[in-house]
């Protein structure tokens, strides 16, 4: 009896003690954030935005992210070596980039609807749950999300053509019928129109004035400037092809009569940035070559860049400098020289007198070499952007001269010709006690040495030890900068017949590059195309520009005898010819197809629009294939 009493006392007190605990089974999780918590906290929303900014895809970039699947994170610097700006000279297991027999129809694939869904979800949730968020902030975040979505649709449309335009989350109702979730592809022009109208709707709500890593009004306008230019040129040049690439529903191809409207929009957006934006062409350094290099890479007081991906956080720094610095001045014991510029790109930089940029290696009658006093002399009087983009023989970087020499040419009197002697290793000395093959090559076969005789300067970090794996580089990636906006304005104005205005924009850029004032008085589309090539080299433009002008299949025609489809190299040699004071000790240059380069670049008509994966087609029968696939 006593025992029962004690037992019931214990049970009773237990019940009483625990019974007062409220919501024992209904507690807030400590490891999961609720929607209410996220969408009312500016810090949480900013963190989410950081994720969305980080996921903006680029075909090339500065890091090593290579996920073209559903996630769609693309930021792969190695892709710089896939076109005609550069080739691969790094680790030989990536030599496939020099041997792309033809670009696959699946190249440049992107179908990152998870990203679009995440943004759509965020847009809806911020409205639904963000109760205590000030209206102003809500508007700004929504505008920022819509900018990112518009930017992503631009990244999709330039690769795939018209894609399904999904602007709200698609929710499955478990009815067994998914037909209402299957959206057909929008017209190509509709996607571009969507980008234009989104920018117009959000540009005044974006805030972030003065920021170059988050979108502000002018970032949105820069997107519009570029997107409208692409749409205009597709409308114009697609219809100038012998047989335009179209689909009956307009998923691919834009009618020619829409071209002028798009060009006008591109011009208006560009003008708004140039005339009323807080930006100016970077002109802080009196040396035009260094100035151009700083315009892209220098962060302090840089009013040229509009939108960048920065790598300030110590764990976010990247290896681009480690992988691509010139061999002779590398600070690590491995790496370097992976992506090296082609002679094709070097020669597209004009001479300052406006003449063609082809380097003069042979006398006009082609009987003898031209003899230069030093390796850099052949590059004298070139467009200063060459210096700012590329390290050529005799140029300096980080205060060190980059020594580039392939070997020596010894005069053989018996044969009445030169014997070409190249070292089997770098930094070798010839029997006359002087340099044979320089510390930065070029070399025909050694990996991680330039194969073309050039190195990249753009995007390489100038600071001490940044090319080591320990320190790494925090150079930013430039999505948009004012230089491009000038070119967009120039091209759009030219296409609209306003050549006078176009000349103003193009000449402003050329003047900064060391040309005189008003260096051009007439303009052709080829000239504008070349300006884009030299100004925007390595900034992820070349492929898309050739695509929208519909000349990629002509330039990269897969023919080994075509000078544009092959990658060329320039090898400097020191001349040994005792007794001939005009030639002995001078330098000569040999142009050749880069020895490690194998297959010509081959872009087929089916590459203008990337093939849509069969899995996507299987899941959604309303999606039609792109032409030629």
């Amino acid at each position: 009896m006593k025992r029962l009493y004690i037992l019931s006392l214990i049970t009773g007190s237990f019940l009483l003690l625990t019974g007062c605990m409220k919501d024992w089974l209904d507690r807030e999780p400590r490891t999961i954030l609720s929607d209410e918590q996220v969408w009312n906290d500016p810090k949480q929303i900013t963190a989410l935005l950081a994720n969305f900014y980080d996921r903006i895809p680029a075909e090339s970039g500065l890091t090593d992210v290579n996920n073209d699947g559903a996630d769609g994170r693309l930021f792969q610097w190695r892709n710089m070596a896939n076109y005609d700006e550069a080739m691969w000279s790094g680790q030989s297991n990536e030599d496939g980039r020099n041997n792309i027999t033809s670009y696959g129809f699946g190249s440049w694939y992107l179908w990152n609807y998870t990203y679009i869904r995440d943004i759509n979800l965020a847009l809806e949730n911020i409205e639904k749950y963000g109760i205590s968020l000030p209206d102003e902030a809500k508007k700004q975040y929504s505008a920022e999300l819509r900018f990112l979505r518009a930017l992503n649709y631009f990244n999709l449309v330039k690769r795939m053509g018209g894609v399904p335009l999904v602007t709200k989350q698609l929710i499955y109702d478990y009815s067994g019928n998914v037909a209402d979730l299957q959206q057909p592809r929008a017209k190509e022009s509709e996607i571009y129109d969507f980008i234009g109208s989104e920018v117009d709707a959000i540009k005044d709500q974006l805030g972030n004035a003065g920021s170059n890593s988050r979108a502000n009004k002018y970032t949105a306008l820069a997107l519009k400037s570029r997107a409208m230019l692409y749409a205009g040129s597709i409308a114009k040049y697609n219809n100038l092809m012998p047989v335009p690439i179209t689909t009956p529903g307009g998923e691919v191809g834009i009618p020619a009569d829409m071209a002028n409207a798009y060009y006008q929009k591109a011009l208006d957006a560009s003008k708004e940035i140039i005339n009323s934006g807080p930006y100016a062409l970077y002109r802080n350094n009196p040396d035009p070559g260094e100035n151009f290099y700083e315009a892209v890479t220098k962060k302090a007081t840089n009013r040229e860049v509009i939108f960048v991906k920065d790598f300030l956080y110590p764990t976010r720094r990247h290896w681009f400098s480690y992988d691509n610095i010139a061999r002779g001045i590398r600070e690590d014991n491995l790496g370097s020289s992976s992506v090296v510029p082609s002679l094709n790109l070097v020669e597209s930089f004009e001479y300052l007198d406006g003449s063609n940029g082809a380097l003069k290696t042979r006398t006009p009658d082609n009987t003898d070499y031209i003899y230069y006093d030093n390796p850099a002399a052949i590059f004298a009087n070139k467009d200063a952007r060459l210096y700012g983009t590329i390290i050529y023989p005799g140029a300096s970087f980080k205060g060190l001269t980059v020594s580039i020499q392939a070997g020596v040419m010894v005069w053989n009197g018996g044969r009445n010709a030169y014997d070409v002697i190249e070292g089997s290793d770098l930094g070798t000395t010839y029997s006359d006690g002087r340099l044979l093959t320089a510390s930065s090559g070029p070399h025909r076969s050694i990996m991680e040495v330039s194969n073309t005789g050039f190195y990249i300067r753009k995007f390489i970090d100038p600071n001490d030890k940044t090319s080591t794996r320990g320190i790494q580089s925090d150079i930013w990636w430039v999505w948009f900068r004012l230089g491009e906006i000038y070119l967009n304005a120039g091209e759009a104005a030219f296409e609209l017949g306003q050549t006078g205005d176009a000349l103003l924009y193009i000449n402003a850029l050329r003047e900064r590059a060391g040309f005189g004032a008003n260096s051009l008085t007439t303009l052709t589309i080829d000239r504008i195309r070349n300006e884009r090539r030299v100004e925007l080299a390595f900034e992820d433009h070349r492929l898309w520009d050739l695509k929208r002008w519909r000349i990629a299949d002509k330039v990269w025609n897969g023919n080994a005898s075509s000078p544009d489809a092959m990658i060329y190299a320039l090898y400097p040699y020191r001349v040994i010819r005792p007794g001939d004071v005009n030639r002995d000790g001078k330098y000569v240059f040999v142009k050749m197809i880069a020895p490690r380069f194998r297959a010509p670049r081959f872009f087929q008509l089916g590459n203008y629009y990337t093939a849509i994966n069969q899995a996507v087609l299987n899941n959604n029968p309303k999606i039609i294939r792109n032409p030629f696939h």
Binding site: S102, P242, V243, D553, N559, A560, Q614, P627, F628
Partner: protein, 225 residues
């Protein structure tokens, strides 16, 4: 102790060796589908590694195409399981008119099919011969379908019998304007490039390009000695 361990080890090893030889549980495909792309019963010459046909088979969970590459002489072959397939002439892929009608194929053992296509142009009476330091080719172009204009005709030279617009050591291209009237015979000259001057023989091929069509139609390679 040692003895026990080693005998256990040997037993394990034996066990692995015995089970390791177990055959794969999938049979490999044993039938072959082969054939030629033809126009008027004649094989159509194309670029090596350029043209593709597609095979599709319904009724299985994995629904994806089986690409079948067409050799430069117009022939193709694929190892398949017996069954019913649909063969698709991929639009915009070969030098012929798009025809999206699929061809039903029943593969049973070794099956041979002809895939009929309608090219825009065909090349007839092609001859080529060495003439001094060059090669001269004469041929006539016959228009089969007038929906697309002629863009150009080219003569390609190569060391091996794989010759086309991508694999060549020298070429000359005559644009449609330069050819003018295509009802008469066309003559193209090409200078033999340095890489071929020392060769005892090499191959040439004539290709004709239709405007707006990526691939050219080719003759069979002609050996030049």
């Amino acid at each position: 102790m040692n003895k026990i361990l080693s005998s256990a080890f040997i037993a394990m090893l034996l066990c692995m060796l015995v089970t390791g030889c177990k055959k794969d549980n999938f049979e490999k495909p044993s039938s072959t589908l082969s054939g030629t792309v033809v126009y008027n019963k004649e094989a159509v010459g194309v670029r090596s590694n350029g043209v593709q046909l597609e095979l599709w088979q319904r009724g299985f969970q994995l629904f994806t195409k089986i690409p079948v590459h067409v050799g430069q002489d117009g022939s193709f072959s694929a190892s398949l399981f017996d069954g019913n397939y649909k063969l698709v002439r991929l639009p915009g892929n070969g030098p012929w008119i798009n025809n999206t009608d699929s061809i039903d194929i029943t593969v049973n053992g070794n099956t041979v099919v002809e895939v009929p296509v309608q090219p825009y142009f065909i090349i007839k009476n092609a001859t080529a011969a060495k003439a001094g330091t060059g090669v001269t080719a004469t041929f006539s172009i016959e228009r089969v379908n007038a929906s697309q204009p002629l863009e150009s005709a080219s003569l390609y030279l190569a060391k091996t019998n794989i010759v086309d617009a991508v694999n060549n050591l020298g070429s000359t291209t005559l644009s449609a304007d330069a050819i003018g009237d295509i009802t008469g015979p066309v003559t193209i000259n090409v200078t033999i490039p340095a890489a071929l001057t020392g060769q005892s023989f090499f191959y040439v091929r004539i290709g004709v390009k239709t405007a707006g069509v990526a691939e050219r139609i080719y003759t069979q390679p002609i050996k030049i000695e």
